[in-house]
Symmetry: C2
Subunit: 238 residues, 2 copies
Protein backbone atom coordinates (compact mmCIF):
# COMPACT_ATOMS: atom_id res chain seq x y z
CA UNK A 1 0.00 0.00 0.00
CA UNK A 2 1.42 3.36 -0.97
CA UNK A 3 1.32 5.93 1.78
CA UNK A 4 0.43 9.14 -0.01
CA UNK A 5 0.32 11.29 3.09
CA UNK A 6 3.14 13.82 3.36
CA UNK A 7 5.82 12.77 5.86
CA UNK A 8 6.39 14.55 9.17
CA UNK A 9 8.96 13.96 11.90
CA UNK A 10 7.51 13.62 15.42
CA UNK A 11 9.82 13.79 18.44
CA UNK A 12 8.51 11.07 20.74
CA UNK A 13 9.82 10.95 24.31
CA UNK A 14 7.58 8.28 25.75
CA UNK A 15 5.78 10.86 27.88
CA UNK A 16 2.26 12.16 27.81
CA UNK A 17 2.81 15.34 25.78
CA UNK A 18 4.59 13.85 22.79
CA UNK A 19 2.15 10.90 22.67
CA UNK A 20 -0.55 13.53 22.20
CA UNK A 21 1.44 15.30 19.51
CA UNK A 22 1.90 12.04 17.60
CA UNK A 23 -1.89 11.70 17.46
CA UNK A 24 -2.22 15.35 16.40
CA UNK A 25 0.28 14.91 13.57
CA UNK A 26 -1.69 11.94 12.28
CA UNK A 27 -4.92 13.89 12.67
CA UNK A 28 -3.33 16.69 10.61
CA UNK A 29 -2.94 14.17 7.78
CA UNK A 30 0.74 13.31 8.05
CA UNK A 31 2.60 10.03 7.85
CA UNK A 32 4.23 10.45 11.26
CA UNK A 33 7.85 9.29 11.51
CA UNK A 34 8.66 9.08 15.20
CA UNK A 35 12.14 9.87 16.54
CA UNK A 36 13.23 9.08 20.11
CA UNK A 37 16.57 9.51 21.87
CA UNK A 38 18.54 7.19 24.07
CA UNK A 39 20.58 9.59 26.18
CA UNK A 40 21.09 7.27 29.12
CA UNK A 41 17.83 8.32 30.74
CA UNK A 42 17.44 6.68 34.13
CA UNK A 43 14.24 4.95 33.08
CA UNK A 44 14.25 2.81 29.98
CA UNK A 45 10.48 2.68 30.43
CA UNK A 46 10.44 5.95 28.45
CA UNK A 47 11.86 4.22 25.38
CA UNK A 48 9.59 1.21 25.80
CA UNK A 49 6.65 3.58 26.06
CA UNK A 50 7.77 5.45 22.93
CA UNK A 51 8.04 2.18 21.00
CA UNK A 52 4.56 1.06 22.08
CA UNK A 53 3.06 4.48 21.31
CA UNK A 54 4.63 4.46 17.84
CA UNK A 55 3.23 0.97 17.24
CA UNK A 56 -0.28 1.53 18.55
CA UNK A 57 -0.40 5.19 17.60
CA UNK A 58 0.07 4.35 13.95
CA UNK A 59 3.47 5.95 13.36
CA UNK A 60 4.81 5.37 9.85
CA UNK A 61 8.22 4.53 11.37
CA UNK A 62 10.09 4.82 14.67
CA UNK A 63 13.80 5.51 15.17
CA UNK A 64 15.89 5.75 18.33
CA UNK A 65 19.04 7.87 18.09
CA UNK A 66 21.74 7.56 20.70
CA UNK A 67 23.00 10.85 22.12
CA UNK A 68 26.49 10.50 23.50
CA UNK A 69 26.35 12.44 26.75
CA UNK A 70 29.89 11.46 27.65
CA UNK A 71 30.85 14.26 25.30
CA UNK A 72 29.60 16.66 27.95
CA UNK A 73 31.73 15.32 30.72
CA UNK A 74 29.23 13.15 32.41
CA UNK A 75 29.02 12.74 36.12
CA UNK A 76 26.90 15.78 36.91
CA UNK A 77 24.38 14.66 34.31
CA UNK A 78 24.02 11.03 35.25
CA UNK A 79 24.36 11.09 39.02
CA UNK A 80 21.61 9.64 41.15
CA UNK A 81 19.74 12.60 42.48
CA UNK A 82 17.01 12.10 45.04
CA UNK A 83 13.54 12.57 43.56
CA UNK A 84 11.39 14.98 45.62
CA UNK A 85 8.09 13.44 46.74
CA UNK A 86 4.63 14.76 47.54
CA UNK A 87 5.56 18.40 47.18
CA UNK A 88 3.56 21.04 45.38
CA UNK A 89 4.66 20.62 41.73
CA UNK A 90 4.03 24.32 41.12
CA UNK A 91 6.82 25.02 43.63
CA UNK A 92 9.45 23.05 41.75
CA UNK A 93 11.12 26.30 40.77
CA UNK A 94 14.51 26.43 39.11
CA UNK A 95 15.87 22.99 39.89
CA UNK A 96 17.65 21.04 37.21
CA UNK A 97 15.66 17.89 36.46
CA UNK A 98 17.07 14.43 36.83
CA UNK A 99 17.38 13.81 33.13
CA UNK A 100 19.02 17.07 32.18
CA UNK A 101 20.59 17.16 28.72
CA UNK A 102 22.56 20.30 27.87
CA UNK A 103 21.13 22.11 24.86
CA UNK A 104 18.50 19.40 24.88
CA UNK A 105 15.83 20.71 22.54
CA UNK A 106 18.46 22.14 20.20
CA UNK A 107 20.15 18.75 19.88
CA UNK A 108 16.83 16.90 19.53
CA UNK A 109 15.57 19.36 16.89
CA UNK A 110 18.88 19.13 15.01
CA UNK A 111 18.46 15.39 14.63
CA UNK A 112 14.84 15.97 13.63
CA UNK A 113 16.05 18.43 10.99
CA UNK A 114 18.50 15.82 9.67
CA UNK A 115 15.76 13.20 9.50
CA UNK A 116 13.39 15.66 7.83
CA UNK A 117 16.06 16.29 5.19
CA UNK A 118 16.49 12.55 4.58
CA UNK A 119 12.73 11.88 4.45
CA UNK A 120 11.93 14.97 2.44
CA UNK A 121 9.66 16.11 5.26
CA UNK A 122 8.79 19.76 5.73
CA UNK A 123 7.10 19.31 9.09
CA UNK A 124 8.49 18.58 12.53
CA UNK A 125 6.26 18.10 15.58
CA UNK A 126 7.38 18.37 19.18
CA UNK A 127 5.55 18.33 22.46
CA UNK A 128 7.25 21.15 24.35
CA UNK A 129 5.09 22.90 26.86
CA UNK A 130 5.95 26.32 28.24
CA UNK A 131 3.49 25.92 31.12
CA UNK A 132 5.24 22.92 32.66
CA UNK A 133 8.72 24.16 31.93
CA UNK A 134 8.55 27.88 32.38
CA UNK A 135 12.16 27.92 33.59
CA UNK A 136 13.46 26.57 30.29
CA UNK A 137 14.28 29.10 27.60
CA UNK A 138 14.17 26.39 24.92
CA UNK A 139 10.49 25.68 25.58
CA UNK A 140 9.34 29.19 24.65
CA UNK A 141 7.74 30.24 21.34
CA UNK A 142 10.58 32.69 20.57
CA UNK A 143 13.10 29.85 20.72
CA UNK A 144 11.01 27.55 18.50
CA UNK A 145 10.64 30.36 15.98
CA UNK A 146 14.40 31.06 15.99
CA UNK A 147 15.16 27.38 15.45
CA UNK A 148 12.84 27.40 12.45
CA UNK A 149 14.53 30.47 10.94
CA UNK A 150 17.94 28.88 11.41
CA UNK A 151 16.76 25.56 9.95
CA UNK A 152 15.45 27.30 6.85
CA UNK A 153 18.91 28.79 6.30
CA UNK A 154 20.62 25.46 7.02
CA UNK A 155 19.14 23.40 4.21
CA UNK A 156 19.05 23.61 0.48
CA UNK A 157 15.30 23.06 0.46
CA UNK A 158 14.87 25.92 2.91
CA UNK A 159 17.04 28.33 0.99
CA UNK A 160 15.34 27.45 -2.29
CA UNK A 161 11.80 27.81 -0.96
CA UNK A 162 10.23 31.02 -2.23
CA UNK A 163 9.39 32.45 1.18
CA UNK A 164 12.17 30.84 3.19
CA UNK A 165 9.69 28.80 5.16
CA UNK A 166 10.47 25.28 4.05
CA UNK A 167 10.57 23.75 7.52
CA UNK A 168 7.54 24.13 9.74
CA UNK A 169 8.06 23.39 13.40
CA UNK A 170 4.80 22.48 15.11
CA UNK A 171 4.72 22.87 18.88
CA UNK A 172 0.94 22.75 19.29
CA UNK A 173 0.99 22.21 23.07
CA UNK A 174 3.31 25.08 23.86
CA UNK A 175 0.67 27.20 25.61
CA UNK A 176 -1.69 24.41 26.69
CA UNK A 177 -2.45 23.27 30.22
CA UNK A 178 -2.02 19.60 31.09
CA UNK A 179 -5.80 19.31 31.23
CA UNK A 180 -6.18 20.71 27.72
CA UNK A 181 -3.48 18.36 26.42
CA UNK A 182 -5.09 15.25 27.90
CA UNK A 183 -8.57 16.31 26.78
CA UNK A 184 -7.37 16.61 23.19
CA UNK A 185 -5.46 13.34 23.38
CA UNK A 186 -8.46 11.44 24.69
CA UNK A 187 -10.54 12.82 21.81
CA UNK A 188 -7.89 11.43 19.43
CA UNK A 189 -7.80 8.04 21.16
CA UNK A 190 -4.39 8.27 22.80
CA UNK A 191 -3.80 5.42 25.25
CA UNK A 192 -2.23 7.27 28.17
CA UNK A 193 -1.68 3.96 29.94
CA UNK A 194 1.27 3.58 27.55
CA UNK A 195 2.90 6.87 28.54
CA UNK A 196 5.64 7.17 31.11
CA UNK A 197 6.16 10.33 33.14
CA UNK A 198 7.27 9.15 36.61
CA UNK A 199 10.72 10.19 37.86
CA UNK A 200 10.99 7.28 40.28
CA UNK A 201 9.09 4.26 38.95
CA UNK A 202 8.72 0.96 40.79
CA UNK A 203 9.69 -2.23 38.93
CA UNK A 204 6.66 -4.27 37.97
CA UNK A 205 7.23 -7.11 35.53
CA UNK A 206 3.49 -7.53 35.09
CA UNK A 207 3.15 -4.27 33.15
CA UNK A 208 3.91 -3.46 29.53
CA UNK A 209 6.40 -0.75 30.54
CA UNK A 210 8.07 -2.98 33.13
CA UNK A 211 7.21 -0.62 35.97
CA UNK A 212 4.46 1.38 37.63
CA UNK A 213 4.50 5.06 38.62
CA UNK A 214 5.53 6.01 42.17
CA UNK A 215 2.43 8.27 42.42
CA UNK A 216 4.29 10.84 44.53
CA UNK A 217 6.87 12.63 42.37
CA UNK A 218 6.10 15.95 40.65
CA UNK A 219 5.46 14.27 37.30
CA UNK A 220 3.03 11.76 38.79
CA UNK A 221 1.15 14.43 40.75
CA UNK A 222 0.76 16.73 37.74
CA UNK A 223 -0.80 13.92 35.71
CA UNK A 224 -3.05 12.68 38.49
CA UNK A 225 -4.48 16.14 39.10
CA UNK A 226 -5.13 16.70 35.41
CA UNK A 227 -6.97 13.40 34.96
CA UNK A 228 -8.96 14.05 38.13
CA UNK A 229 -9.89 17.50 36.88
CA UNK A 230 -11.27 15.80 33.78
CA UNK A 231 -13.33 13.52 36.02
CA UNK A 232 -11.23 10.44 35.39
CA UNK A 233 -8.22 8.59 36.65
CA UNK A 234 -4.68 8.40 35.24
CA UNK A 235 -4.70 5.10 33.28
CA UNK A 236 -0.98 4.72 34.01
CA UNK A 237 -1.99 3.91 37.59
CA UNK A 238 -3.63 0.72 36.34
CA UNK B 1 48.44 25.17 37.46
CA UNK B 2 45.20 27.10 37.24
CA UNK B 3 44.14 27.94 33.70
CA UNK B 4 42.73 31.44 33.96
CA UNK B 5 41.99 31.81 30.28
CA UNK B 6 38.28 31.85 29.41
CA UNK B 7 37.08 28.57 27.92
CA UNK B 8 36.04 28.19 24.29
CA UNK B 9 34.70 25.19 22.38
CA UNK B 10 36.51 24.40 19.12
CA UNK B 11 34.99 21.97 16.62
CA UNK B 12 37.93 19.90 15.43
CA UNK B 13 37.43 17.65 12.41
CA UNK B 14 41.00 16.50 11.85
CA UNK B 15 41.21 18.55 8.66
CA UNK B 16 43.25 21.56 7.73
CA UNK B 17 40.68 24.28 8.39
CA UNK B 18 39.73 23.35 11.94
CA UNK B 19 43.38 22.75 12.87
CA UNK B 20 43.95 26.38 11.89
CA UNK B 21 40.95 27.53 13.90
CA UNK B 22 42.24 25.72 17.00
CA UNK B 23 45.45 27.73 16.75
CA UNK B 24 43.44 30.93 16.22
CA UNK B 25 41.30 30.28 19.33
CA UNK B 26 44.46 29.84 21.41
CA UNK B 27 45.94 32.95 19.83
CA UNK B 28 42.75 34.82 20.81
CA UNK B 29 43.54 33.93 24.43
CA UNK B 30 41.13 31.05 25.01
CA UNK B 31 41.54 27.72 26.75
CA UNK B 32 40.45 25.73 23.71
CA UNK B 33 38.26 22.69 24.44
CA UNK B 34 38.22 20.61 21.26
CA UNK B 35 35.18 18.60 20.21
CA UNK B 36 35.24 16.00 17.43
CA UNK B 37 32.57 13.65 16.10
CA UNK B 38 32.65 9.99 15.30
CA UNK B 39 29.88 9.69 12.71
CA UNK B 40 31.19 6.58 11.02
CA UNK B 41 33.43 8.57 8.72
CA UNK B 42 35.15 6.29 6.23
CA UNK B 43 38.58 7.34 7.41
CA UNK B 44 39.42 7.05 11.06
CA UNK B 45 42.56 8.98 10.18
CA UNK B 46 40.43 12.11 10.70
CA UNK B 47 39.89 11.26 14.35
CA UNK B 48 43.53 10.29 14.86
CA UNK B 49 44.54 13.59 13.28
CA UNK B 50 42.14 15.49 15.55
CA UNK B 51 43.56 13.78 18.64
CA UNK B 52 47.13 14.60 17.62
CA UNK B 53 46.23 18.20 16.76
CA UNK B 54 44.54 18.64 20.14
CA UNK B 55 47.60 17.21 21.88
CA UNK B 56 50.26 19.14 19.98
CA UNK B 57 48.11 22.19 19.38
CA UNK B 58 47.71 22.76 23.12
CA UNK B 59 43.98 22.16 23.46
CA UNK B 60 42.77 22.33 27.06
CA UNK B 61 40.75 19.15 26.47
CA UNK B 62 39.52 16.95 23.63
CA UNK B 63 36.23 15.08 23.41
CA UNK B 64 34.84 12.77 20.72
CA UNK B 65 31.04 12.54 20.53
CA UNK B 66 29.42 9.70 18.64
CA UNK B 67 26.68 10.75 16.24
CA UNK B 68 24.28 7.92 15.59
CA UNK B 69 23.69 8.10 11.86
CA UNK B 70 21.55 4.96 11.90
CA UNK B 71 18.82 7.32 13.06
CA UNK B 72 18.78 8.71 9.54
CA UNK B 73 18.21 5.40 7.86
CA UNK B 74 21.73 4.63 6.88
CA UNK B 75 22.58 3.01 3.63
CA UNK B 76 22.55 6.07 1.40
CA UNK B 77 24.92 7.81 3.79
CA UNK B 78 27.48 5.11 4.33
CA UNK B 79 27.67 3.44 0.95
CA UNK B 80 30.98 3.14 -0.79
CA UNK B 81 30.93 5.85 -3.40
CA UNK B 82 33.75 6.09 -5.89
CA UNK B 83 36.07 9.02 -5.23
CA UNK B 84 36.67 11.16 -8.33
CA UNK B 85 40.35 11.55 -9.19
CA UNK B 86 42.44 14.23 -10.91
CA UNK B 87 39.50 16.39 -11.88
CA UNK B 88 39.29 20.12 -11.57
CA UNK B 89 38.16 20.62 -7.96
CA UNK B 90 36.40 23.85 -8.95
CA UNK B 91 34.11 21.72 -11.12
CA UNK B 92 32.91 19.51 -8.27
CA UNK B 93 29.55 21.24 -8.38
CA UNK B 94 26.54 19.98 -6.52
CA UNK B 95 27.60 16.44 -5.68
CA UNK B 96 26.97 15.09 -2.21
CA UNK B 97 30.31 14.32 -0.57
CA UNK B 98 31.27 10.88 0.64
CA UNK B 99 30.86 11.71 4.31
CA UNK B 100 27.53 13.50 4.09
CA UNK B 101 25.78 14.02 7.42
CA UNK B 102 22.26 15.43 7.21
CA UNK B 103 21.96 18.75 9.04
CA UNK B 104 25.64 18.34 9.74
CA UNK B 105 26.69 21.75 11.00
CA UNK B 106 23.43 22.16 12.92
CA UNK B 107 24.02 18.89 14.77
CA UNK B 108 27.69 19.67 15.37
CA UNK B 109 26.93 23.18 16.63
CA UNK B 110 24.15 21.82 18.86
CA UNK B 111 26.62 19.56 20.63
CA UNK B 112 29.04 22.49 20.83
CA UNK B 113 26.29 24.57 22.42
CA UNK B 114 25.68 21.81 24.99
CA UNK B 115 29.38 21.62 25.79
CA UNK B 116 29.62 25.41 26.02
CA UNK B 117 26.76 25.33 28.53
CA UNK B 118 28.52 22.68 30.62
CA UNK B 119 31.90 24.45 30.50
CA UNK B 120 30.46 27.92 31.00
CA UNK B 121 31.99 28.93 27.66
CA UNK B 122 30.61 31.86 25.68
CA UNK B 123 32.68 31.19 22.58
CA UNK B 124 32.44 28.48 19.92
CA UNK B 125 34.91 28.25 17.04
CA UNK B 126 34.36 26.36 13.83
CA UNK B 127 36.28 26.11 10.60
CA UNK B 128 33.53 26.38 8.02
CA UNK B 129 34.55 27.87 4.75
CA UNK B 130 32.07 29.24 2.27
CA UNK B 131 34.63 29.25 -0.54
CA UNK B 132 35.18 25.47 -0.51
CA UNK B 133 31.56 24.62 0.14
CA UNK B 134 29.61 27.19 -1.74
CA UNK B 135 26.86 24.66 -2.39
CA UNK B 136 26.17 24.22 1.31
CA UNK B 137 23.69 26.61 2.87
CA UNK B 138 25.01 25.82 6.36
CA UNK B 139 28.45 27.22 5.55
CA UNK B 140 27.19 30.74 4.87
CA UNK B 141 27.41 33.72 7.23
CA UNK B 142 23.59 34.10 7.35
CA UNK B 143 23.28 30.56 8.68
CA UNK B 144 25.99 31.03 11.32
CA UNK B 145 24.30 34.22 12.45
CA UNK B 146 20.89 32.53 12.67
CA UNK B 147 22.36 29.68 14.71
CA UNK B 148 23.81 32.22 17.13
CA UNK B 149 20.46 34.01 17.50
CA UNK B 150 18.72 30.71 18.17
CA UNK B 151 21.41 29.63 20.66
CA UNK B 152 21.01 32.85 22.61
CA UNK B 153 17.30 32.10 22.98
CA UNK B 154 17.98 28.45 23.87
CA UNK B 155 19.98 28.95 27.05
CA UNK B 156 19.41 30.63 30.35
CA UNK B 157 22.74 32.44 30.07
CA UNK B 158 21.75 33.77 26.65
CA UNK B 159 18.35 34.96 27.74
CA UNK B 160 19.77 36.61 30.84
CA UNK B 161 22.59 38.42 29.02
CA UNK B 162 21.77 42.11 28.69
CA UNK B 163 22.07 42.27 24.90
CA UNK B 164 21.05 38.69 24.11
CA UNK B 165 24.50 37.93 22.78
CA UNK B 166 25.79 35.42 25.28
CA UNK B 167 27.08 32.91 22.73
CA UNK B 168 29.59 34.08 20.16
CA UNK B 169 30.10 31.82 17.18
CA UNK B 170 33.47 32.40 15.55
CA UNK B 171 33.80 31.22 11.97
CA UNK B 172 36.95 33.18 11.12
CA UNK B 173 37.72 31.29 7.90
CA UNK B 174 34.31 31.66 6.37
CA UNK B 175 35.40 34.01 3.58
CA UNK B 176 39.06 32.99 3.36
CA UNK B 177 40.81 31.23 0.51
CA UNK B 178 42.73 28.03 1.22
CA UNK B 179 45.94 29.99 0.68
CA UNK B 180 44.96 32.59 3.28
CA UNK B 181 44.01 29.85 5.77
CA UNK B 182 47.31 28.01 5.41
CA UNK B 183 49.32 31.24 5.54
CA UNK B 184 47.71 32.16 8.85
CA UNK B 185 48.12 28.65 10.23
CA UNK B 186 51.81 28.55 9.36
CA UNK B 187 52.29 31.88 11.17
CA UNK B 188 50.68 30.29 14.23
CA UNK B 189 52.82 27.15 14.01
CA UNK B 190 50.16 24.67 12.87
CA UNK B 191 51.68 21.32 11.86
CA UNK B 192 49.74 20.58 8.68
CA UNK B 193 51.48 17.19 8.47
CA UNK B 194 49.01 16.15 11.18
CA UNK B 195 45.92 17.14 9.22
CA UNK B 196 43.88 14.73 7.15
CA UNK B 197 41.89 15.86 4.11
CA UNK B 198 42.16 13.02 1.59
CA UNK B 199 38.95 11.25 0.51
CA UNK B 200 40.77 8.06 -0.50
CA UNK B 201 43.89 7.55 1.64
CA UNK B 202 46.36 4.72 1.19
CA UNK B 203 47.20 2.60 4.27
CA UNK B 204 50.71 3.33 5.53
CA UNK B 205 51.60 1.94 8.95
CA UNK B 206 54.76 4.01 8.99
CA UNK B 207 52.84 7.27 9.46
CA UNK B 208 51.28 8.82 12.54
CA UNK B 209 47.85 8.91 10.87
CA UNK B 210 48.15 5.33 9.61
CA UNK B 211 47.85 6.38 5.99
CA UNK B 212 49.09 8.73 3.33
CA UNK B 213 47.04 10.94 0.99
CA UNK B 214 46.12 9.62 -2.47
CA UNK B 215 47.32 12.93 -3.99
CA UNK B 216 44.62 12.82 -6.68
CA UNK B 217 41.21 13.43 -5.07
CA UNK B 218 39.67 16.92 -4.91
CA UNK B 219 40.69 17.43 -1.30
CA UNK B 220 44.31 16.49 -2.00
CA UNK B 221 44.51 18.71 -5.09
CA UNK B 222 43.07 21.75 -3.30
CA UNK B 223 45.69 21.47 -0.55
CA UNK B 224 48.58 20.81 -2.90
CA UNK B 225 47.78 23.85 -5.02
CA UNK B 226 47.49 26.10 -2.00
CA UNK B 227 50.83 25.00 -0.52
CA UNK B 228 52.45 25.38 -3.95
CA UNK B 229 51.02 28.88 -4.29
CA UNK B 230 52.73 29.70 -0.99
CA UNK B 231 55.97 28.41 -2.43
CA UNK B 232 56.00 25.23 -0.35
CA UNK B 233 54.86 21.65 -0.36
CA UNK B 234 51.96 20.01 1.48
CA UNK B 235 53.66 18.45 4.55
CA UNK B 236 51.00 15.70 4.56
CA UNK B 237 52.76 14.32 1.49
CA UNK B 238 55.80 13.52 3.67
Amino acid sequence: MVDDRPPAVVLLSGGLDSATVLAMARDDGFAAHALSFDYGQRHRAELIAAALQAERGGAASHRVATIDLRAFGGSALTSDLAVPKDRDPEASGDEIPVTYVPARNTIFLSFALGLAEVLGARDVYLGVNAVDYSGYPDCRPAYIEAFGSMANLATRAGVESPDGSWLRIHAPLIEWSKVAIIRRGLELGVDYGLTHSCYDPVADAGRALGCRPCEHCDACLIRQRAFEELGGRDPALG
